[in-house]
Symmetry: C3
Subunit: 365 residues, 3 copies
């Protein structure tokens, strides 16, 4: 679909210059752009690409001399990635799911589906499910009995919503996301080795055989508005109450949230993050890829943890963390520097010991 | 479904007091409980919640003065989480899968399915499959040719069972679990860089181009009785023999077990654990979230590894591990304390060097 | 299917001795072998197994005295695992997917599917899709609009191919693999805390509330020839250009490749590896299990990273890495040795301080 530079600039609330009636049909990196593309050149480093590519219009960095770069029109974007958000929303055709309900679906007669739905083939929807308006549900998704889902949601292929799950408006579920599998909760008839070492920090008095008895998950999962869950990510049901995720929180691929976990609002949880059972995560927390958080702890508001951080104990609000175990990022940097110098320092200490030993001997004489 | 306090106590083999004919219909956290709920208050910290909530009956901690807490009946639970296991099993309605075989399924005529099956829509079952009695198989699951599955199993949505997989009784597969994908096994025509550094510990004489030739998986997967596999977890086929998991072992979400791996009985493998090819894990081993285990090693019985531990070499039976690389948990704690003090210690050593240098000079004079 | 020793040796380009007309029907570990099996005994450690098992023929190590081991025929394999690759390909029957297109599929009339296809039940194929010859597509897979896929590909159950994805020849997708979910890309209207700490390395001047605005993925994914993607692994779409994976690269289970990532040729990415957005990985790179790579960095050709390594900054070509943060493998080993001795060294330094303090006092007198 074509858009004029004028319309795009208006949609982005950005300033435009040159031929505002010029129409473009897609976006491109500057060097690869064709004549019908809008090139994205929010940084001066793209100047060469603009010259070599074929774009007639571009989104350019603040202060760019777009005429000298051979363009007929330009949109000026002081904060480029924000402009990108608006632009990409305009240009994204979204997945093709035919309007209406595909005949090869199995939908319980008691389910209530709002107007404007587009539901693909091989979808199953259970008894008592309630779905808001304008739902887009791709092939192979399943929504189990009793689930309630808001307006304007998009479930991509094979999303699995468990019984009684609650989901707000504008939810996006990427392929294979599992919302509402059973929690991983087991108990041994006698005190288990895991319980023992939590008290003794590693010492085990006596090792006994033990078997695991399952605690079923009677709670479910609640997701707020504007939540996104990535491909093949898993959010487990709570034991008694619901596992919950607050409004505006975005979850990447292959993330695990255990039973009873509470995640606040506007968090970012990157790929392969794992949060163990009953832990509470505050608002606006950012966990980078492969971060792990132990069970039954608390991570305060605005905490940021770098890639691979393992948070094994409570983290106060606003802290910036890195490492295993997690420490403040600046301390981690300092510790690692010292660690790299440690082998040489060990040599120095050995030398010092010799020297001091000699000095002591001299003094004794 | 309503249960009397008498029946619940009998089922839990627990003592009950007060009005044993009082009927409850579900469980709740104490503060959120309604009159028809059984509140779960196995710890004195819930006393306030019991007073503010609406429950007339509760499971209480040993020695609780339940009358003073405003209850009409109480069940006494000396080991609360164990009681929770029994209670949750009683109260869990389980997923709704209609009895019988849904017409929108593709089941090979040579497959043998035991009595009492409930098989949902869009399920596929291949040639020669044998399934025991009372199987519950949710929508979108697939069971490939030659697989044999025991009695009373529950496959949730989209579980994928590969060819010739063997599964015991009472198996639970969470959504998207993959049992029997091909192993990740490749070889280069000449010695590869990976083979080289295993011998040299990091030095590479000569870097050559290399391409990977696939080793197909001719083995399959064997799971014992009472095994559970979490959402989107993956257990790969063996190369010649089967990858195996022993009776009673529970596996959480997003876990990877490579080809030829052997896991013993009654283990717990938490979310995002990865066990590389041909490694043997003993009985009753507990691997916390994001633990990694190298290929071709051995982890002894009763080993417990804390969150994020990377086990890179054999671990003797009974060891409690933490860290990357894994060391005994108490040593890890000690090492980390020393590491935190290391930057300051480096300063001290530098000062000592100056002082000693002066002393040496003095002595030389 | 039976094969003679002569045929197998010819297929493997290996030398054979003894009764070359002997036919075998499958392979086995030596000790478990039956009379119709070809035992795999590429190492002298299998000598005992050969004697106790029932095989009449075996693949043996170079120089084995196969007659003395009771065999009637032997194939000699100087590089055993390479022979295994050829053998396993011969012996693998592959998944049973009936030739032709199953009637319970939903295939857009504009899709073009090459000759020789075998497409299972409950598969969906979107508008404008082009698939080469001899495709094998198992139940529950979905191929979205505009995707183009080469010849001789195998999609196992529930593989999800997103819109406009490009895939070369001989691709293998394991169950649940997601190729082309949306990238995880969000921006805040004001500078976010994450942007701030990238500059300050951990210090935050002022913590503000922030919400995330979504950047849609307008790019797609391109995979070269001979690529394999493991079970439940995820490769996200690019923002403007495509996320790309080069020819011959093999990806294990539960791997995440973020948006805009470029992976070169002939790489091995093991289970639970995560590569964050816009990072470039060279050719022949090997990342062991649970390795993490930060966003927007570069990993050079022939890099090998051991299990659990976290690569947080650019890695030059040919480097062998280990640890968190990643360092050269030999340095990591040296650092860890020193760290284990650190608690004792701290004691030594404390003693030295005392001794030197006394010496200084003596000298001052």
């Amino acid at each position: 679909m074509a858009h004029t530079i004028r319309d795009i600039a208006a949609a982005l609330d950005a300033k435009a210059e040159g031929n505002l009636d010029l129409a473009v049909e897609g976006v491109s990196e500057p060097a690869a752009a064709k004549a019908h593309h809008l090139a994205l050149a929010m940084d001066p480093k793209y100047a060469d690409g603009l010259s070599s590519g074929g774009a007639r219009a571009a989104v350019v960095w603040d202060g760019a001399d777009w005429k000298a770069l051979g363009l007929e029109a330009a949109i000026l974007a002081p904060r480029g990635r924000l402009a990108m958000a608006g632009l990409s929303r305009m240009m994204d055709p979204g997945p093709q799911i035919a309007p209406g309900i595909h005949p090869m679906t199995v939908i319980d007669p008691t389910a209530v589906i709002g107007e404007g739905a587009a539901i693909g083939p091989f979808v199953t929807i259970g008894a008592g499910v309630v779905i808001g308006t304008n739902a887009r549900i791709a092939a192979h998704s399943s929504i189990a009995e009793g689930a309630r889902i808001g307006d304007d949601v998009l479930l991509l292929n094979g999303v699995r919503i468990g019984p009684d799950v609650r989901i707000g408006d504008r939810f996006i579920g990427q392929p294979g996301a599992s919302i509402g599998a059973d929690g991983f909760s087991f108990v041994t008839p006698e005190t288990s080795g895991v319980e023992e070492i939590r008290h003794t920090l590693g010492t085990r008095a006596e090792i006994r055989k033990q078997q695991w008895v399952r605690i079923h998950s009677l709670g479910s999962v609640s997701l707020g508005n504007d939540v996104e869950v990535g491909a093949n990510s898993c959010i487990d049901r709570g034991t008694i109450r619901n596992t919950t995720v607050g409004d505006g929180t975005k979850i990447d691929n292959l993330v695990h949230l255990g039973h009873n976990v509470t995640v606040g609002k506007d968090c970012l949880l990157c790929a392969l993050v794992g949060v163990a059972g009953s832990t509470r995560i505050g608002d606006r927390v950012v966990l980078a890829g492969q971060v792990g958080v132990s069970d039954n702890i608390f991570v305060g508001d605005d905490v940021i943890a770098g890639g691979g951080t393992k948070i094994l104990s409570n983290a106060p609000a606003g802290r910036v963390l890195l490492g295993y175990p997690a420490v403040k990022m600046d301390i981690h940097v300092e510790m690692q520097k010292a660690l790299r110098r440690l082998p040489r320092m060990a040599e120095k200490v050995a030398e010092l010991q010799k020297t001091v030993s000699k000095l002591s001997d001299t003094d004794k004489i």
